[in-house]
């Protein structure tokens, strides 16, 4: 089975490398080869990326969603109920 795809000019070199390694046959695909997902995490495109910060939810988010009033109320109610459940236990 064969397939072709174009990589646009505005991609950085690291991203081109990552994409081409991911879009490769099963046996050579990054993440599935030796080293597993760690190879992706250590890839040049992710260089300097704060993985621990992402997991701890401490890094800056690119887009903060705008919440409607209903969501705000539900978040508030949940907070109150959480406090209440701590009080009960």
């Amino acid at each position: 089975m064969k397939g072709t795809y174009d990589i646009p000019d505005n991609f950085s070199r690291a991203l081109i490398d990552l994409v081409s390694r991911l879009l490769s046959p099963q046996a050579q695909r990054l993440g599935r080869t030796q080293g597993g997902v760690r190879k992706i995490r250590k890839h040049a495109w992710f260089e300097g990326f704060n993985w621990q910060g992402l997991l701890d939810r401490e890094i800056k988010v690119p887009h903060v969603p705008k919440l409607g009033n209903l969501e705000k109320v539900s978040i508030f109610v949940h907070g109150m109920l959480t406090l209440w459940s701590f009080y009960l236990t």
């Binding site: 646009p8 991609f11 597993g36 939810r57 919440l67 969501e71 949940h78």
Partner: protein
Amino acid sequence: MENTAQEKLITEYRLMLELSHPFIVQCFQGKHFLVHVMLTLSSLYSNLSRSHWYPIWLTLLAEAFQCKKYIYFLMGLLPGGEVLDLLDEHKKFSEDWSRFYCGAVVLVFEYLHQQKIAYRDLKPENLVLDEEGYCVVVDFGLAKRCDRGKTWTMCGTPDYLAPEIITGKGHDWGVDYWALGGKAQYWSLHFVVCFQPFLTPCYTSASWSQCLFMSLPTVTHLSMTMIQQKLQRK
């Protein structure tokens, strides 16, 4: 027919109950009526990052949300909307944005693949933002445990199908990385003409379905001809 659908839901539900990751939508089950009411009252909202203490007072009880006709999934509320909507709004993500969302997905995959679960349905529609803007992976309807080696079910979204799914040679969690590659490109490139590496022109297009059916090894020649005729007529 209804039974199998129900079984599928239950399988998905059981799988989800076992999973616990900050970037996977969580599924809760209440032992006490009070917990049930609380979670429902709070509009099914729960802060995923601080959910680690939930198991203390939430335990498994499979019948809790199943009535005669329906099965209820109680999940954390993700009010931020789909990443796809965000993409439509911005037309194209910068590499920094893509890196952030891809990073979250990579973390989820790391966790899932450790447990030998293939997610198999990665696409922007299945990434939803929580109230702080972190993306969470939802919809585990196609997820499957592959601890006994490869799996052969033909499933996924056409645009992100890895070649080994189409050829039917058996696949495992490796297909998720293929989809990730497709997505990394898709995100950074929404505005350019060829924005997906293997874009399906239309989900129902005859040519694509034909190509899928042609490549399925289990379809006999006769039924294949029949399918082709049906496709051409439309």
